[in-house]
Amino acid sequence: MNDLITVVDWSRWQFALTAIYHWLFVPLTLGLSVIVAVMESIYLKTSDSKWLSTTKFWMTLLAINFAIGVATGIILEFEFGTNWSNYSWFVGDIFGAPLAIEGILAFFMEATFGAVMFFGWNKVSPRFHLLSTWLTAIGASISALWILVANSWMQYPVGMEFDPAQMRNVMDDFWALFSGVAINKFFHAVLSGWALSGVFVIGVACFFLFRKSNRDFALRSIKVGGWIGLAGLLLCMFTGDGSAVEVTRTQPMKLAAMEGLYEGSEGQSLVTLGLINPDKKWDNNEDPYLFEISLPKGLSILARHDMNAYVPGISDIINGVDVIDGDTINTVSYEDRIRRGRIAQSALREYGMALREGNVEATHAAQQTLAENYQFFGYGYFNSPAEAIPPVALTFYSFRVMVMLGSYFLLFYVVVLFLAYKAPKWLTDKKWLQIVAMISVPLMYICSEAGWIVAEVGRQPWTVQDLLPVGAAISDIPSSSVMITFWMFAILFTVLLCAEVGIMIKWVLKATHSDIDNQSNK
């Protein structure tokens, strides 16, 4: 049992480590490819060679990021087969389809249009080159779409039917995968890549200004990066609002954890700043916060777009209480879910025995009982409702880090763009401003990663919402093997990250000693 807990914990850590490292590379590819495509479009429209030089400089940084990051996501798929074999089999029919499409699509789009983008200068027509650059950017986003559709399905499993003979959830409606959860998640994640890349471009451009190098190139880059980043951030806020509504509808426990909310109310306030009380449990009377500053009715507006709406807390959800349009609704309590989950599991066990004995009547009876209780299948693994609560403090703080940094970056973009057009001397002369812009780059990465921590830690303990908790999804393997591969990945990824940062710094430093605008563009 202890080894099982250790395997679960190490496998979780390993998956988190891999996903976090992978997400260091992905958003920059998603956003910088768009920024480069816009720069090249301006070049084609103006025929100004300075825009060509600008495009080529940022395209090189895109190439570095792409080369280092490519295939880091494949490790997640390795982990599915080894560490999460029960999960892999249980959802393989659904989860496999989007991942396969992503793999094929990414390979063909990147191998063709990416090659033309990187190798095709002076070999294909300027228009075809621009088309290739745009298709590379669009291809990266389409690749992300399939991954995010798969991830969304885990958070909101729809469009499938469980087949107890195959022990698989079998897809019966492909288009159901494109749920509101998936659409919001796709746009939120991809547009966050734009926001991140805008800050990256501004930060690097400010390094040029800090070194008093390539002033016009830097200001030109800041304007393009700034507009695309600002557009990405504003749309990200819009889709974030959509995500909050979807989370309230499909994963109310995650929303309650994000807020550290235990007892909900109508016109529920939103905690803008606070400290979680570590002694608070769902069934005691401790105050959930040691300290809090709240925005009245804020959570009701965020969650249900209605300032007087009821938002349930953790204890309400466990007790099966919600209020819709002023009427108290009794949803299924967690005690009842656990009971029905056990009935479903018992029916599945009986189905297996009947199948082996060839008892057709008994398989039908077991299948009927299973189908009636399947929606709570995963709850049968819990001994108490407390096991179904995500880590509240980590979810709560990560959400605030994301929102606060996101708000800072809105101000950052507005100020930088204003200065770039109205007072460029501030950007070119004020060292402190340049330093703030450079420090903002790692802060943006923290903001982006915090968003994923909210999404993934907030949905714990589920790998597939309501159906399969992490403890059941795991393979029967020794914890020592997961520990070894954990450290192997930690080393491999750290080396890759150091290589990326090192090569980028070397390239940028080299560029600060040259005149980018007057470089040969042959």
């Binding site: 080369a67 087969g81 080894t82 022990m167 698989r168």
Partner: protein, 68 residues
């Protein structure tokens, strides 16, 4: 564009790279580590490896998921 032209396009592209050579070296080493070391020796697909048929794999998962 014939296949020969496409191959020449890729060949010339690789030849003209400067920083790209380092990047390709990193990509190839990384892919080797991922597919020929990690995947082969550390990340077997357990159900594929331990069971011969899909029925056996389904039975194993059923047992795992319904152990009281």
């Amino acid at each position: 564009m014939s296949i020969k032209n496409i191959l020449i396009f890729y060949r010339d592209g690789f030849r003209q790279m400067t920083i790209g050579r380092t990047l390709w070296a990193i990509i190839l080493i990384k892919l080797f580590l991922l597919f020929f070391v990690l995947k082969l020796f550390f990340f077997p697909n357990l159900l594929e490896k331990n069971f011969d048929t899909d029925e056996d794999r389904a039975e194993a998962v059923r047992t795992n998921l319904t152990m009281p």
